[in-house]
Amino acid sequence: MRGFRGMLLGLMVSVGAIAGAKAQTVEIEYWQYVFDARVKAMNELIKRFEAANPTIKVKQTTFPYADYQTKIAAAMPAGQGPDVVQLFYGWLDNFVGAKFIQPLPRDAFPPAMIEKDFYPIVSAMKRDGEYYALPTAVRSLALFYNKKLFQEAGLDPNTPPKTVEELLDMAKKTTKRDGAGNMLSAGITLDFPGQDYHWWRETLLRQNGGQPYSDDNKTVTYNSEAGAKSLNWYADLQRTHKVGQVGFMDEGQAAFRAGRAAMTIDGSFRLGAFGGIKAFEWGVAELPASADGKKANFASYWVNAITTKPTGEKLEAAKKFLAFVTTPEAMQLWLETVGELPARKEAAETEKNLNHPVYGPFLKALGYSHATVFVDEMAQRQVSLDMINRVLLQNQDAKAALADAAKAEQAILDRFYKK
């Protein structure tokens, strides 16, 4: 009985699918935030996808980063918005909680396949045995350095710092000030709300023997000796050594791009923007290790998910599209256009990619990277930002600042996990 009904149902669905496909083209909508290279890459992927699937049309809509979540939250309840959506991996719980996205259909995206082919950081997308989203590309952090400023300071432009001690030493040598001591060019940019808060939490903290969160991610654990040590080391770059200054040139990336900073820590997604620099040559290196050689890095990624909106043939189209943008082919295109690293191991770890002077350092980091599990990335970022502001603007003691931050962030985690 059950078998018969199942067969009938299957028959109806497939007849429906065929009839639908023949009758008309299906249009699905794809949303992502504005970032020139990403939009360009996606346009190219859509073009190729539509060529392979003539009955499906994909419409891409983009918003500025600052408004992106707001726009999705406004559109989804009204029954508008995307069928396939790009989101930051840290927003996943918010999106699942608000019922914006659905689990990836197991027929098209079996969990075993995902776990075999993708980097393990993707497991952060798994909730109760179901995967909710997949990345096209992942990113890690690296050190960008200005070869011209290195040379001017008498340093070898091809030997970037390998340890944090060397980093500090080179930052001291490359910092430039005017007669009154005002900074003209920074040794290293200090931009906590940029990428430095990841650098501190996932790299510096771990290198000092700490751990940001408990293994189940439900408890903040950075309020520790290692936390204070690493936060003080970071803050001393400005407080004691004066090799960097928060707010110098408004943003760290702006300072580096203008040739006003010898070093900056940033993500692989910045490669496109820095590619336009003509005034000097720059290089990329792995994040400096600790004195005892400990390495750590932060990986993050944007994922694509299917929203709760599409059903029937639109859902089928959405599945096809999502599968297409996570193929190795799409990943290589993303790497070459956006500079973000393939999320599948086979696509990433080719001989050519690993030895690439720019991609290499980022790719090598994927092996020792951690992806923080955020429950509310915006709010948690604000906590970190307030913490460093208390230390650097109000001269609060690092331990007290850490205690405040841990308390505030724990409250965010508690509110979430209680639900």
Partner: protein, 313 residues
């Protein structure tokens, strides 16, 4: 729209219409003129006002149905340290902004009123900023406040040999730094209003005083200021409301790609920005509506208090 429909009415009921008296016709005309506006005010002003009070008593994230929670949002507000910080900031915007801008505007207007040479040109210089878009000028000022090597103010300080100031990156300087462009943009309006007020004072008062040999200072205190009172009342109320509702400058000068709107450490966040974030970033509609009710009460209290104080004296 209302007019044409009333014409149709008039034609179809022509006999009825001609049977009406002059006064009754007038009444019909009046209500036909008012029909659309009365509907508009009911739907777009009064109903939303009541709704704001209602939403303030609910817990609502736009996705689910609002649930009534009584005064809980207000209790939460009273216990929220960020709210008190924001409340303090908003008061500071008002208490710094209104006196400084009015004093400056009065001094300028008082002297400009006596100037003949290039009068129109100088007035235009002061008035121009009033016509700018706050969102655009906020970015210009934000640029001025940068540290060396790009910030204008810090470069001037460096040139004078004075220490660098953090401006927007400080918890103490950032609020005045955000306030400055707001004062700057509103000054021209206040100057021209003051000048219009000064012009309205009859010359005979001054002539009489001058014959009596009264000093300029006394004339200012005894004649000019008392007679300017209606102008001053208007400007105090008008600019106070403006400063209490400050938003554009703060939003544009403190938020960025790596956003910290109202920062650092909430040092610049005014009530309207808190409302905006609560409602349209966190979608905590009930809590945001409760904040708007507080804003409403503050505005009401400040306007009534000022009218009272300035009228009595």
């Amino acid at each position: 729209m209302n007019v044409s429909s009333s014409r149709v009415d008039a034609r179809s009921g022509a006999r009825l219409w001609s049977g009406l008296g002059m006064r009754q016709k007038q009444v019909l005309w009046a209500w036909s003129f008012l029909a659309v506006p009365v509907l508009f005010y009911a739907v777009v002003r009064f109903y939303p006002t009541l709704e704001a009070f209602w939403i303030a008593t609910t817990n609502w994230n736009l996705l689910t149905k609002p649930s009534f929670i009584g005064m809980a949002n207000f209790k939460r507000l009273m216990a929220d340290p960020v709210f008190w910080q924001v409340f303090r900031n908003t008061a500071l915007y008002l208490l710094l902004g209104t006196p400084i801008s009015l004093l400056l505007a009065f001094i300028i207007a008082y002297h400009l009123d006596r100037v003949r040479f290039l009068h129109g040109f100088i007035r235009a210089l002061y008035f121009l900023p009033f016509l700018t878009t706050a969102a655009a000028m906020a970015w210009v000022w934000r640029w001025f406040y940068q540290p060396v090597p790009i910030g204008l103010f810090n470069n001037i300080l460096a040139w004078l040999g004075i220490a660098q100031q953090p401006f927007l990156r400080s918890t103490t300087q950032s609020l005045p730094a955000v306030l400055a462009p707001a004062i700057w943009a509103g000054l021209g309006f206040q100057v021209v209003i003051f000048m219009a007020g000064l012009r309205a004072i009859p010359t005979t008062y001054y002539e009489a005083a001058r014959i009596d040999g009264v000093s300029n200072w006394t004339i200012l205190r005894r004649i000019t200021l008392p007679l300017l009172k209606p102008t001053i009342v208007f400007l105090v109320v008008f600019s106070s409301i403006g400063f209490l509702r400050i938003f554009d400058q703060v939003y544009n000068m403190t938020s960025q790609t790596s956003s910290d709107p109202g920062g650092p450490l909430n040092a610049t966040k005014p009530l309207v920005l808190m409302i905006y974030q609560t409602a349209f970033s966190s979608f905590d509609m009930g809590y945001a509506a409760a904040q708007t009710v507080v804003l409403f009460l503050v505005l009401l209290a400040v306007s009534l208090l000022q009218l009272r104080l300035l009228r009595d004296r």
